[in-house]
Subunit: 380 residues, 4 copies
């Protein structure tokens, strides 16, 4: 018999939808000790919160996130609001003893993130940050192949996250749809929004980044603010790239931009090892490319692995071989793992503590870009 | 306010899962006049039916499909059982005034399908056959491009459906997992299972097939029957290919097999028109390939369209550009359209009547292969 | 010390160029006992023959092919003229004791081809038909993989040759550039021009074709004749497809057309075996796709083999790994093998005798299409 | 009537072969005022020089490059030797009034390159550096599309050159086959060998690079020297990456390594503009990828342009649409342009002067990597 776990969702935007969908689906596909119940959704505008609750089957809605925290029936607080509000909500939830799922990036900066880590750890509540791409089956498979030692010594890690949706200077900043362009809400631009994903995956795959050297650019210097209607200076980074050294001696090259015409959400990574290499991209997320130098030379080539068979990570839960899953499933896997571990009293990666490390790299990247110099990273 | 519509699902196999998932998701993403309620699931084995009901949230379960039909609370009967049982259930459901969603192929043969059409049309009940691939957004987009006249006169239609799961002679026939290899349950092999999909899409895209010339093969002649444990002659076609002429003068080439090593569910089609061509495959179902000869010659090439933007068919309901959906979503779209049309009193394609035409082509294909000669098709 | 071998080239069209280029290059890359000398080129128009001789370095030119045959200094006669003239020239050359390289298809039909085989075999002269695609390294590699038994039992062979250059009704028939559309010069349309290549490769890879069932179509029924200026009925097949059975029990599906918008010269084949599959296409001729089911399941996928390393067929002669060769190189390999075998007194495949078999399949295909029925093929 | 131009080739290695092949082929395909004559080849080992002369048809050979310079019959000196010998030979050739084709990179460093430029410009001799990839038709097409303004404002330029041939620590340094690993012969590692190509193309496409920030790594610290047999410290960079700013405000990201398992010679670039983007890779050099945002949104996607039609750069000289050329052809195009311009008295890009600029960027890259800081580049 599954135990009910009451969810309070804060934020009804894009991420609110992906998380709600995950809660609704997870028990249909995974055999779990817990069953999430959509207890309450919270958002700033009452009519929107109500409509969201109706569409997704939340029992109630509110416009005050503190009510979610104060509600004794709530077991799990799910934070899907802009980055600048993560800390306050998460720390309040922790103090109230709630389990927490927080959207990425964890915080506006490392200092804030560190404070959050301290609070959740002191409270001893289960905590997870939604770096969902780790749980795309092909990405999880990459981790498995690395852990099995198939690649041997790693020489290179390369990751890009390319988009093209802000090329027009007419795109505003701020507001519900475009808060990611407003430095006050987002903290940074592509660094926190996109590179944070790349960094999370990279350190999971390849260990700590030791030092970075970055550059950033803001191509469109001023944009209208959606809330004030005024043209304001743009404070975020439109593009950011950095070179780095990992602790294992490999070299990294990371780049993100929202000015790469033709790419909507092209997160790619490639890992080159002594024996084998791996490549993946989000536009065809159900495939993993793999090259193994130990193959017979006359049949050696990049393999396009269609990650749909039942022996692939998570894929025994879904359909039959050849039938692909999509973007949303990474969130289902995240919830499934979280609920599974909750029952076992085990942490689920990436915890707040691990997300803090990603934040520290982001901070170093932004600082390096500002100074135009290399920056060492301390994870202490 | 959405009106509830009570669903009785008959069959808890692979298709039962895809349909249940669609019922659960559809109102979260589509704004519809109806909301399906999972009322009852029916299957042969009680413990499995019970487990299925529990997993998906069906209010009840039964092992007797007649009880589903007789239940006055049921509005919609959903038939997800082996092909040889479609007719009896569907006709009983029609006579009981239920809306019907039936898995493909509609029947064991054209004669049976015609009888079913007559019964549902006499009963005047809404009816839909689950040729779900029509509603993969890229496939729907292909239809739109053809209807807009972008291809001009069509010369060629080519479709394959390649699998590799029955190459081993150890795979049994019959039973829950492998009834598709048992001619008594399936009626035919790849023709009804796989080519029926290709034919449905092709006639939707390109009009009636006028005549066919086919060949079939059964590579593994005997297999153990999963129910009897005895080695029995295999009655199905392992592979089937046919050439055809469409009424619009274009030529068709269709092939299906379960002996194409390396392909799990590789449904592909390509359409060559005077001005433009289109190609698609199920292994990367979120892409459509398009070539337009009217492009400037120096930038002319096959375009790989990542069908994820909001102006693509159905895609305004899902995520953001660049984030792909998967196989299961075609079933959600199917239910969404069915519910939408139900409210409007409009039929939803493909109806039983349209599926009969696909059945007639399948019959002609099998008959042609048997005779080794061309066969004309009459849709009267 | 290399021995000189004097070449008489008959025909200065597209194929005359590919062969001349091969003669010029072969000794720069292959270590051979013979060195071809461009002795004479023959063509219908004197000024063009002269210009061709000048451009390629032929010592002389003529407009009378009989002079080439009669010239005692000529060792090798190379026939690059339209199909309807192959027989007369080849038989005269054989009788004059010349080695012969003849463009494909060997003849207008099997009867003529058989006569040619008898004459060359009686004369005992070295003879080779230019089915050059066999010697694209990736295609040769495919043969090697099959011969090594990597695929196991073969179930399917599929080949297409798709073009789009005759879609416009304004393209004329006949004359130097478009004789391939004139049935008198070409004998047939896509069957002899394109499917002959597919059949040659298929029988080399997979053994004899036992029976065929074909259909043809002529989409544009009348075209102006380039020589007469008159609109004349088109006698060739614009499109042809056929199903077949190979002697080894596998099934074949072949299709060719000049009405596949977007494809210039898309010769593709795919072979499905019990253990492994192979696929190739001419638009990226330096790659071979290979899938091996015996790979570890979690890293199993289609491999894209970049056929450029030195252990690949012919590739030790060219550049360095990663640097691709192109279309023209298949002709260089053909000449290299021919010269190598000449010195050893060994035949070079495909001989006239093997090309006769391809011709017999073409005949059966055209006959089957005409009758609308299956046709058995006798190679006696 | 073509005028003869006597070529003296210095260096019979890999590049000596590509250049010789180009001289042999160029007049067969291009209608030019000049015809190169293979007059003399020069190399260190007499037997190899003799064999090379025999294989390629050079009239004579020598082991003393000064004899080539002193020979009054020589019109063009072609320098295909290791980088450390370029300067001396080129300057001597210039002083002797010869036209010069020099392999890339021009020199060991900017200082040396500048001296070479001064000498050739003072001598007024035609001079060209063999950055051959500019003349791959797809790369030339990219330039054409940029110049036509199709991309609009450029935001990003990204280029990689990835290889995997030196991963084994057993590969020696120095000697004929591996001089590229010997810092004394090569000057640098991947920077001069591979990134120089990327930089040349990038500045041709996108204008001057203003500043760079680089990192380098030497993964294998010691290797046996092929000439001395002793294990010596490796002085070259095994991997190098750099970030940069172009004068037009766009950002660049460049990376090269010989430790990217699975890539033999994977030179790739991608250019993101306001309206359109372009991508290319050397492993499929006959294709250009192009995305144009101005396409109708429902048929918008990356186009794979098969650069084989006659209206593509250089392609009217080769075969027919759909039939690809290979690596070697870029050298033929280079010679064709050089000879064409020679007759017109026009310089051919990239001249020594343009190659100096590439050298200055390489110097800045290496210097930046050493200092771990940004470096401004002055082209004065």
């Amino acid at each position: 018999m599954r135990k009910k776990i009451n969810v309070g969702l804060i934020g009804y935007g894009f991420m609110g939808r992906t998380h709600s969908n995950a809660y609704c689906k997870v028990n249909h596909f995974f055999d779990l000790p817990y069953e999430p119940v959509l207890h309450v959704v919270c958002g700033l505008e009452e009519d929107k919160a109500k409509a969201f609750a109706d569409q997704w089957g939340y029992r109630s809605y509110t416009t005050d996130w503190r009510k979610v925290i104060e509600d004794d029936e709530i077991d799990l607080v799910d934070i899907c609001v802009p980055n600048n509000v993560h800390a306050e909500i998460a720390m309040a939830a922790a103090k109230a003893g709630k389990a927490i799922l927080c959207e990425k990036p964890l915080a506006l900066n490392g200092k804030q993130a560190r404070e959050m880590v301290e609070v959740v750890e002191k409270a001893g509540v289960p905590n997870l940050v939604s770096f969902n791409y780790r749980r795309v089956p092909a990405v999880t498979l990459a981790k498995q192949l690395i852990d099995e030692g198939r690649l041997g010594r790693i020489f290179h890690y390369r990751a890009n996250f390319l988009q093209d949706w802000t090329i027009s200077a007419q795109v505003p900043q701020g507001g519900m749809a475009t808060w990611r362009l407003d430095v006050k809400a987002a903290g940074s631009g592509v660094t926190g929004d996109l590179l944070a994903h790349c960094i999370d995956t990279a350190m999971w795959h390849n260990g700590h980044i030791k030092s970075v050297c970055a550059m950033t650019e803001t191509f469109v210097k001023e944009r209208m603010h959606a809330e004030t209607g005024k043209v304001e200076k743009v404070g975020i980074d439109d593009a950011c790239m950095f070179m780095c050294r990992f602790e294992n001696g490999s070299l990294g090259n990371f780049e993100s931009t929202r000015y790469a015409r033709g790419h909507k959400a092209l997160y790619t990574f490639e890992i080159n090892g002594e024996h084998a290499s791996i490549a993946w991209d989000l536009h065809d997320l159900h495939r993993l490319s793999y090259f193994d130098h130990r193959d017979d030379s006359i049949v050696r080539g990049w393999r396009s692995i269609h990650v749909t068979d039942a022996d692939m990570p998570y894929m025994d839960k879904w359909w039959v071989p050849g039938l692909q899953i999509g973007y949303e499933h990474s969130f289902v896997h995240q919830i499934a793992d979280f609920l599974e571990n909750l029952a076992k009293g085990k942490p689920t990666s990436p915890t707040f503590s691990e997300a803090l490390e990603t934040q520290l790299v982001c901070d170093a990247v932004l600082s390096s870009a500002k100074k135009g110099a290399w920056e060492e990273i301390s994870y202490r």
